[in-house]
């Protein structure tokens, strides 16, 4: 590591000259050419030498004095550049539409976009499915053996994690939903809440995904 550097060792004049130079360079919004520095520090008679001196003083420090294309400037030492980056986790909540779509996927999987729309009664925006795929909670499972071979969606292990479910079958059934007041009234004949499953085995009418069904650009 760096040798101990004795700073501002010379006479008072030298100290003052270095103080002035470092203050001006520090406060400047951009690099300063030697001409600009000379204009700011008219008493300085040996600017080039002084700049080299200051550069040596700062050589092993957290900030270095560097000569860039348009002059001199202080910059963070190259090996400390990593300090100038920060990782941040931004927590987001799903929109109402996305949450409804996710719930339908969870209960009705494997399910196609058209089937989701049938349950919701409204169209599902492409953005909603993109966001759900981005959460990592929803995945493409396969393709339904139907005209157009639509993609089927299902949930992932990360989904179970995020919603504190031990298994997808822990999702409450019709009676539980009614008991919790989440569904009210008398279900009509034929109304059912499916028992969900999220395993990898494909349904009888599901084909595997095609080789080119990349995660990046799924043909929804």
């Amino acid at each position: 590591m760096a040798e101990p550097v004795t700073l501002f060792g010379g006479g008072p004049g030298q100290s003052e000259a270095l103080r002035r130079l470092e203050a001006v360079l520090f406060a400047s919004a951009g690099p300063l050419t030697e001409e600009a520095l000379a204009a700011r520090l008219p008493e300085e008679d040996n600017l080039s030498h002084r700049l080299r001196q200051l550069q040596t003083i700062y050589a092993n420090r957290g900030i270095n004095l560097v000569e860039v294309a348009d002059g001199w400037a202080f910059r963070t030492a190259g090996d400390l550049a990593y300090l100038m980056t920060a990782e941040r986790v931004a927590e987001r909540r799903l929109s109402r539409a996305a949450m409804e779509t996710l719930a339908i996927i969870a209960y009705h999987q494997p399910v196609t976009r058209a089937e989701i729309e049938e349950v919701r009664g409204v169209a599902v925006g492409k953005g909603t499915l993109d966001i759900l795929l981005e959460t990592g909670w929803v995945r493409l499972r396969g393709r339904r053996r139907l005209p157009g071979r639509p993609v089927t969606f299902g949930t992932t292990a990360a989904f179970l994690d995020a919603f504190s479910l031990a298994a997808i079958t822990d999702l409450p059934g019709l009676d539980d939903l009614k008991g919790a007041g989440l569904l009210e009234g008398t279900p009509p004949a034929g109304f059912s809440v499916p028992i969900p499953r999220d395993d990898d085995a494909l349904d009888a009418d599901e084909d595997p995904l095609d080789a080119d069904d990349g995660d990046d650009a799924p043909a929804l």
């Binding site: 203050a23 406060a27 931004a90 799903l94 719930a103 009664g121 995020a162 008398t186």
Partner: protein
């Protein structure tokens, strides 16, 4: 006459009129335009005579102020109302200081004088504080920050959050459409004014002491909505006060309300606050 110095109202000028130096003993510079109200003028008069504001003598100060105002009047200088109100108040204070009235406990001249002295010291102190503050090294004038800051690059990772409840209620909302729904109109909780009044007449009527409104509310029959009970009890109290049956008292804004029966001589209605 109020016991506090008159409330002073003079919108200060933004252009900062120069403070009139009060150097001449005979106060030739009678110009109130330079003062930010009577307190400012009083402070200038006090400073002219005394360096130590801790020992302001209010009586001579009041006399000087009155002399100043008189002179301004003689010179037919138009004075703002505040200056005249202060003059009247100081004349009153002067009379109190010279001839204390033993029987009037409300307005002790010494206390009023000390109050005024305190205000003058405080104004002076705040002016000095402003000067001290603005004498400090200031960023951008005396001290400078790094001119070319290096802004950290932030990599943001998105993380989504959701609860099982949100998931299930979303699912419920979707599937509910398929279910026939029974709709029930919720009954609005009402506690009638008549009921409240009946209880109040019984309780307040049987009491000679001040009763807090809270106690009455607590004494009301149990009801699902406390807000409705409070509203009706308060309403009934106002009605009974209007009829002169009870008195209502409150010591300060938002302080508890007290009620008392006016008994037989139900004529006196005392309601303040």
């Amino acid at each position: 006459m109020s016991e506090d110095p008159p409330h002073l109202r003079l919108v200060d000028d933004f252009e900062d009129p120069p403070r009139t130096p009060l150097e001449d003993d005979d106060m030739l510079h009678v110009d109130v335009a330079g003062f930010e109200g009577p307190l400012d003028l009083l402070l200038a008069l006090a400073r002219r005579n005394q360096v130590d504001l801790m020992k302001i003598q209010i009586l001579p100060l009041a006399e000087q102020y009155l002399a100043f105002i008189k002179r301004a009047k003689d010179l037919r200088i138009e004075l703002a109302a505040d200056f005249l109100v202060m003059a009247a108040w100081l004349a009153f204070l002067k009379s109190r200081l010279l001839a204390p009235d033993e029987n009037d406990g409300g307005a002790d001249g010494e206390e009023l004088a000390e109050d005024l002295a305190f205000r003058l010291r405080r104004l002076e102190a705040m002016r000095e504080a402003a000067d001290a503050l603005f004498a400090r090294p200031r960023l951008g004038l005396h001290l400078f920050a790094r001119g070319a800051p290096e802004v950290p690059i932030i990599h943001e990772e998105k993380s989504y959050k959701g609860s099982l409840y949100e998931l299930l209620s979303a699912y419920g909302t979707v599937r509910q459409v398929e279910l026939a729904r029974d709709t029930k109109m919720e009954k609005r909780p009402v506690f009638s004014l008549v009921d409240a009044r009946r209880v109040m007449e019984r309780i307040v009527g049987g009491h000679a002491e001040w009763l807090p409104l809270e106690a009455l509310i607590a004494a009301m029959p149990s009801h699902e909505s406390r807000r409705a009970v409070i509203a009706s009890t308060f309403g009934a109290a106002l009605e009974m006060a209007r009829e002169g049956k009870i008195s209502v008292r409150q010591s300060a804004p938002f302080a508890p309300l007290y009620l008392r029966s006016n008994g037989m001589d139900g004529a006196e209605t005392n309601k303040d606050g």
